[in-house]
């Protein structure tokens, strides 16, 4: 499976990414960058979704893609369980009840299956959206700020869950949290000044333990890099 996108991304007359040449390999690729830099746009281009920007170049991606948008895209008229099963239903595949229940439990929503999404807190909604993309079992998975509404301990737990569930897949994740990027990323990319900059990843297995002293150090360095362009 090849996942690649190359060329230039234009928004009106302004280049969002001036020189793009991205090949993804199995493992996590984390994408950082200022708000409005074009991270979501890039992710949508990769996933083959319509964008306001224009890609002048080529794209190669598998047919089956997992996708967690920046907005949670929960359907208000479907139950929590119905939302979890939505992608499977759209694909015409079954999502066995035990698997669904297990996923709900894993994201801390055990017993909430019959509720409407509006009865969930902000973080609970995000976890449901995460469970949905984990259920989807795609070889290429795109995650747009998947943990942004979670407190730190829950966030770490969800990162571990995602890392476990998506082991071996090609994952690309947008995040604003340098620690998160370094903890999960086999590759870390910074979108800055319309260019993708490669940030050296940490050594060792993923996810990097939170207690790893190198993590905090690398995060501070990355942060400094983000501050002065």
């Amino acid at each position: 499976m090849t996942v690649a996108i190359a060329g230039q991304v234009w928004l009106g007359g302004r280049p969002l990414v001036a020189a793009l040449d991205l090949r993804l390999t199995p493992g996590w690729t984390c994408l950082l960058g200022a708000s409005g830099a074009g991270k979501s746009t890039l992710l949508r281009l990769l996933a083959g979704l319509p964008v306001a920007a224009r890609l002048e170049g080529t794209r190669q991606a598998p047919d089956r893609i997992g996708w967690m948008a920046q907005a949670d895209l929960l359907q208000p008229r479907l139950s929590v369980l119905g939302n979890l099963r939505l992608m499977a239903r759209l694909r015409g595949e079954p999502l066995p009840r035990p698997r669904a229940e297990a996923l709900l439990e894993a994201v801390g929503l055990a017993g909430r299956g019959a509720d409407r999404p509006e009865a969930l807190s902000g973080g609970e909604r995000q976890r449901l959206a995460l469970a949905r993309v984990l259920a989807d079992d795609a070889a290429l998975v795109a995650l747009d700020e998947p943990f942004s509404a979670l407190d730190v301990p829950t966030r770490a737990a969800m990162q571990d869950l995602a890392a476990a569930c998506l082991a071996g897949k090609t994952v690309v994740m947008v995040t604003h949290d340098p620690t998160e990027a370094l903890r999960l990323g086999d590759r870390v990319l910074l979108l800055q000044d319309a260019l993708l900059h490669e940030i050296p990843p940490l050594p060792g297995p993923r996810p990097v333990p939170l207690s790893d002293p190198g993590l905090a150090q690398a995060a501070a360095a990355l942060l400094a890099r983000m501050r002065r362009p």
Binding site: G66, L73, Q75, R77, L78, M87, L90, G92
Partner: protein
């Protein structure tokens, strides 16, 4: 309940006042008390005709709603169908009853057929139009999910577009239900020997204006009852 009754009383009071002030002669608009008297005296006659109209309305509603939903879904699935059916549906609303009457009678005879067809014709358009409008207004972000899943049109319709279209479908249904008894009355103009529409026409021709209004009251009550039942059912469905 008591809050509901006030508007009704207000309307009857206004009506009685209009008649008492002789703003309208009794042979154009008889006073409500006289209409109620007639309603009571002729309850047997009116009740029997009302049953016919009720049956026509019910059958036509079922047919019209079923057809309307089917057409809306079909048009949403196949845009070329929309281009074909859309204008036909809209155009059919502009067919006057005296054009339809001979055709309907030729094909359906003088029984329940033409009345049910008339009700269905009036019901199908608001239902189909409302639901189809809703189906075409799915937020783009929601359709991203379908794109990602490479979902077939049918699955996209069923799982994403339809749930989002329900409120607009409900709005269309509310409008449609109001027209259903009217459809039965119009259907009875096509040719009938029973039903409240027939009774009203006959009463009008025989100068029995109070009987005509008594029958009209029953139709109004039927319309409002249907309205309320629909509201209840939709509210229960969260719409």
């Amino acid at each position: 309940m008591s809050a509901r009754i006030w508007p009704v009383l207000a309307i009857f009071a206004l009506w009685q006042a209009v008649c008492a002030a002789a703003l309208v002669p009794a042979f154009v608009l008889p006073p409500p008390l006289r209409v109620f008297e007639t309603l009571w005296h002729e309850r047997g006659l009116i009740g029997q005709h009302a049953l016919t109209t009720l049956a026509e309305t019910g059958a036509g509603l079922a047919l019209g709603i079923g057809l309307g939903v089917t057409l809306a879904l079909a048009m949403a699935l196949a845009p070329w169908l929309q281009r074909l059916i859309g204008p036909v549906l809209a155009g059919a609303q502009a067919l006057p009853v005296f054009v339809l009457a001979p055709v309907l009678v030729l094909w359906l005879g003088y029984g329940l057929g033409p009345k049910v067809a008339m009700v269905a014709l009036l019901v199908v358009f608001p239902v189909a139009s409302g639901l189809h409008d809703g189906l075409c207004a799915t937020p783009a972000a929601v359709l991203d999910l379908a794109r990602i899943a490479r979902a077939s049109r049918l699955r996209t319709l069923l799982w994403l577009r339809l749930p989002h279209a329900l409120p607009q479908g409900a709005a269309g249904l509310r409008i449609a239900v109001t027209y259903a008894p009217t459809g039965a009355v119009i259907g009875e103009w096509v040719g009938a020997s029973q039903g409240l529409g027939y009774l009203m026409l006959m009463a009008n021709a025989r100068m029995r204006i109070d009987l005509m209004f008594a029958a009209l009251l029953v139709i109004l009550a039927l319309t409002l009852l249907l309205n309320r039942l629909t509201d209840r059912a939709l509210a229960r469905a969260g719409l």
